[in-house]
Symmetry: C2
Subunit: 666 residues, 2 copies
């Protein structure tokens, strides 16, 4: 403890400040919030003996040099709580300080003693000395006021007269302001909160292969043709348009249709095999257009009120400029060969991985940063990062921080489908949002368990889920087997359970042709140019549109932590809901998880939690069917036929208008 | 992250090492163990990609300069575990390191590829290079052996021949030994474990006022007379003899009988009002004897196979030498008065508190340390610390560490009866043992809840309970109302639930005369000299003796973490048990918690946990009544009459001897 060396009071911490919440891994990683949130911080704060303590929550943005302070309140059992508002899209620091409120301690002591009719001459002299101390430190009006009180506080006066003066509330406040912070202790960590813009939490994503937005078979679409698709995407209600990689594609070991090892001369290759003689990660595939075409497209997306998300995949084709310009960034075997990428049993013969551990690692890392900043300068502020779990976590922690220091509005979505602890640490280390296991959670208990972990465990402090119903790599079994009903209810689940969700285009067409025995698409767009009929029979475009409108109209669906699961008597029917804090918006959702059978269920409406009295009449408005029910009590029978409608979304509407609201009532 | 400054691989940590267990407040405080324990440490350890990792648990005593390493094993889901043995009564440090086992990763890769009949010429060259690297780092025999293998490993040989050589297990071990620790990462904290002697966990305490061990009314006993009592105390089976303060007692504001404010000239005063003109904390009250008498007494206790515990109470009477010699250690009011101690509504007019925050705080702290070391030099290694929660936690953390650096066998018992978080932080900061809320936990659910918290929560890492049935300050209601049956079953609870427990003398006499409406003794020894009849009618000396013998004979009762609660059909009957790890000793305890009524209960014997087969015949030996039952199955009916015997302690005995054990069986 080094106490012998420095005989100063400040060399030890008299007040215990511990169990601070929220805090991720003891402050090793920041927590996450969004602009407009209020951050509530609590802690155990206590000290030996019986002194009264004052605790303050200290906070500042990383741009500010000095702390703001918010006084904390004692809750119970040495637990204290305080809060401050997060107004800015930046990083904040917060910590806690505490000190002995000497004068208040004294006030309580003399109050007790005087009530017990004890003599307190000595105590009064002591108290007067505290006031004198505060007066000496005070300035201006406060000093004058304290001086005035001291003049009237004569030690020769009666105990009662002195006490009346001493226990005056104004005096208490004046002294509290100017007293020395005895036993001043500051929590030994400065905690961080990344305050993102709201889009980090809430948004509907739509993923496309930009080359497959055209109409001529075999011919890839350009950005200009993509622009034609924007009104339809906007009309469906999406907020983020996510493009798979747009860079030049390698030629060596180029993959053919259905991931075959030999490509024909007309095969376009996987856009994830990035780079050829026309450029690498900062170039645009010429068949899509030029960088200027990209800029125009980005503007067009913005003009529609949407925002572009770009794929960031650190894969290099053997033809990538880096391979020649920076051979030191790749692992060469003794015979000079470079190993292609593998994720056993998957092989990516068309891709080399860079070596984050190479001697020039910093050069490589800085180049990756430069690429991201390049696209940020071209208006891209959302990056969907491919396979981050195969690159060092420390790299992500560094690069995301570096980019957000310049672009605090940058959003990074982690496409890690891997073991749970790696998924979590990527989020802790900085990823704004994360892909999840939602794609493989189909049944009532497993959905409930997973959502409770996401919304209630420590994960809620740092892990923001983005529920994708499908991806170019994953066509889930439930969609393959369940068909259109499954496409509908999986959409409802994604769109209402998670504030951020996304579909990979084709979902609205119920596309579900799979490679036999796999969760992969047949004739995947990854390896060929597809021409879609966006109005083909059986599509659910109207359903997608309705879901996104329901999301937009109901702020309760913009949050995750407010998720509650409710009682449904049928094990195939999941029943849950969300409310805004003020309860002005409450949404209840019942979903038949079986795409095969009609299910009847008895729902228990959580009227108590919604603030509805047992005898109050309220309305359940099913905003999918637009059917309305008048209700009294908590019992509701529901039948969901997957062929007709697998889900019900109820907006709870109360009858709040009363005759008293009219001016002429009175 | 400072990466730009130092372009070195070591400036970032490639491997994630987190969620290390055990760890108290992220390593802020040490965990506690005892000599002979095995410390099992687990952690989440993982890295991007698919490399095989090696993890090592690193440990050393504070006296050692270099780390020992124990290889950890992967358990499941990125969780790893390792262990080492704690052989010495000292502090150990431990942490975790991990690196990429490059050669093993390579072995797995080529094994898979060769099984898939792939060409692996490049891979073989790569593997040979790893072996060469290891050879260069190796010395002696290992170098020769590696050289030999390399000579036989000819790149021109067939793939199969090379592979047979490459996948050899001996080679794997040689390379693992000498390969570079790629991606070497060390956990960012060094954790501490205080390894105490076993007495820190297990022991039966007996508390006495040394002046009240005599036979002549009104005359205080001396250490010599105390010595006469030792055989009886030893015969009862106690291991620690704890003395209330033995120092000169103040005269100013000396308390009279029953804590009255005025003492008569013959009143001896409270031994907690320490210090007068004859000395302070390092002096002996002359009526007890001299320091040499104390030393002789200490030797006599030791000769009985017991050990002395001393009271350390930082209270100064107004007559303490410190008051004159170090007025700067006390808070003086403006009129020069010093405030006496208070713990509202209790007042201690005969005591001044020192000011741990005074300008010469380090002088004061060092003096406290000197006092403890003074007594340690006189053979005292157990200190029961009075009211530690009214002194700064930082002081205890410092002084306990300072003392244990010189006397690692020193044990400090925290006498804090206060709010839960303060109780806990005192233990975290260094107290070896702690008083508990046991005294106020009487009924089944509250006893179960409290013991589960002590034995299962994080508290088990740092908080060692010492269950006192009573203290000079606390005569619990249950003893006042429940009389002799309560004295018996509270003893059983204390002695079997907690490996450390204690009684304040008089308990064995069922002394329970209280101040009306209070949990305090009438005619308390604190304020007068008492002459006890140690054989008075109604005593339970034999019962105490039996309990301590049962404790000594059953090692299962020497542990806390092994406590399990079992099913008893009656809410007034608590049923629990403890087993040694090897299950060779198993003890089951059933206690009727009502001192007023007989209770019948149906006990469910945990045969599965005890490793007893459903059809196996075993013996329940009630070591209180010495009754034996032959049992098959898990069902046992029990009746406990508090007037006869409120508790049953069963030792589970199995029939393990079989004919096969005889030599002539075969």
């Amino acid at each position: 403890m080094g106490l012998k060396a420095k005989p100063k009071l400040e060399s030890w911490s008299p007040i215990i400040i511990e169990a601070v919440h929220p805090e991720v891994d003891d402050g090793r990683y920041p927590i996450k919030r969004e602009v407009g949130d209020r951050l509530v911080v609590s802690a155990d704060i206590f000290k030996e003996g019986h002194d009264v303590l004052t605790a303050v929550l200290r906070y500042r943005t990383i741009k500010e040099a000095t702390w703001h302070e918010a006084v904390m309140s004692h809750v119970d059992n040495d637990r204290w709580s305080g809060h401050f508002d997060l107004k800015e899209n930046t990083r904040y620091l917060y910590t806690i300080g505490a000190f002995t409120n000497t004068f208040e301690s004294w006030r309580q002591e003399v109050t007790k003693k005087s009530q017990a009719h004890e003599r307190i001459e000595s105590e009064l002299l002591e108290g007067r000395a505290w006031v004198e101390g505060a007066m000496k430190r005070a300035t201006g009006q406060d000093k004058a006021r304290l001086n005035d009180i001291l003049k009237r506080w004569r030690p020769s006066d009666s105990q009662e007269a002195q006490l009346a003066l001493a226990l005056n509330e104004e005096l208490a406040q004046l002294v509290e302001c100017h007293q020395e912070r005895t036993a001043w202790t500051v929590y030994d960590r400065e905690l961080k909160v990344v305050v993102d813009r709201v889009r980090a939490r809430y948004g509907a994503w739509y993923e496309i292969f930009p080359r497959s937005q055209g109409t001529i078979p075999g011919k890839g679409s350009t950005f200009q043709e993509c622009e034609q698709r924007l009104p339809a995407i906007k009309a469906m209600g999406f907020e983020v348009l996510y493009l798979t990689p747009i860079h030049p594609i390698g030629r060596t070991n180029r993959k053919g249709k259905n991931n075959s090892l030999t490509a024909t001369p007309t095969d376009p290759g996987s856009p994830y095999a990035i780079g050829n003689e026309q450029g690498g990660h900062d170039a645009v595939e010429p068949s899509l257009g030029t960088i200027e075409d990209f800029d125009r497209f980005e503007q067009a997306v913005r003009a529609q009120g949407m925002e572009l998300a770009m794929d960031f995949a650190i894969n290099c084709s053997p033809d990538h400029p880096y391979v020649k310009e920076h051979p030191e960034w790749f692992v060469h075997r003794p015979d000079g060969t470079i190993k292609y990428a593998e994720n056993p049993p998957k092989k990516y013969q068309d891709i080399y991985n860079v070596d984050f551990y190479c001697k020039d690692w910093l050069g490589l890392w800085n180049e990756m940063k430069r690429v991201i900043l390049f696209w940020a300068d071209h208006g891209v502020k959302i990056f969907r990062v491919d396979n981050p779990h195969t690159k060092p976590v420390a790299f992500w922690e560094w690069v995301i921080r570096e980019v957000q220091d310049r672009h605090p509005d940058a959003i990074f979505l982690s496409e890690a489908f891997t073991r749970p602890k790696m998924m979590k640490v990527l989020a802790k280390a900085g990823f704004t949002q994360s892909y999840t296991y939602f794609t493989w959670r189909n049944f009532k208990q497993e959905l409930t368990d997973y959502l409770i972990e996401l919304s209630r465990s420590e994960m809620k402090e740092y892990f923001r889920p983005n529920f994708f119903t499908n991806t170019p790599d994953i066509l889930p079994e439930i969609l393959q087997q369940g068909g259109r009903p499954a496409f509908k209810f999986r959409l409802v689940l994604a769109a209402t359970l998670s504030p951020s969700y996304g579909i990979y285009s084709g979902y609205e067409l119920c596309e579900n042709r799979a490679l036999p025995g796999k969760e992969e698409y047949l004739d995947s767009e990854k390896y060929e140019i597809t021409v879609w009929d966006w109005n083909r029979p059986g599509h659910i475009v109207d359903y997608v549109t309705l879901l996104n409108r329901i999301r937009q109209e109901n702020p309760a669906l913009h949050e995750l932590e407010n998720l509650e699961f409710y009682e449904s008597s049928n094990d195939q029917v999941l029943f849950y809901g969300k409310s805004t804090v003020d309860k002005k918006n409450s949404v209840l959702v019942a979903v038949n998880l079986s795409p095969f059978q009609s299910q009847e269920t008895h729902l228990r409406i959580p009227i108590e939690g919604l603030g509805i009295k047992p005898d109050e009449t309220y309305q359940l408005h099913n905003v999918i069917s637009d059917q309305r029910d008048l209700m009294i009590g908590d019992s509701y029978m529901l039948r969901l036929d997957p062929q007709v409608e697998p889900a019900a979304i109820f907006v709870v509407r109360r009858w709040t208008h009363r005759e008293q609201e009219f001016d002429y009532f009175f």
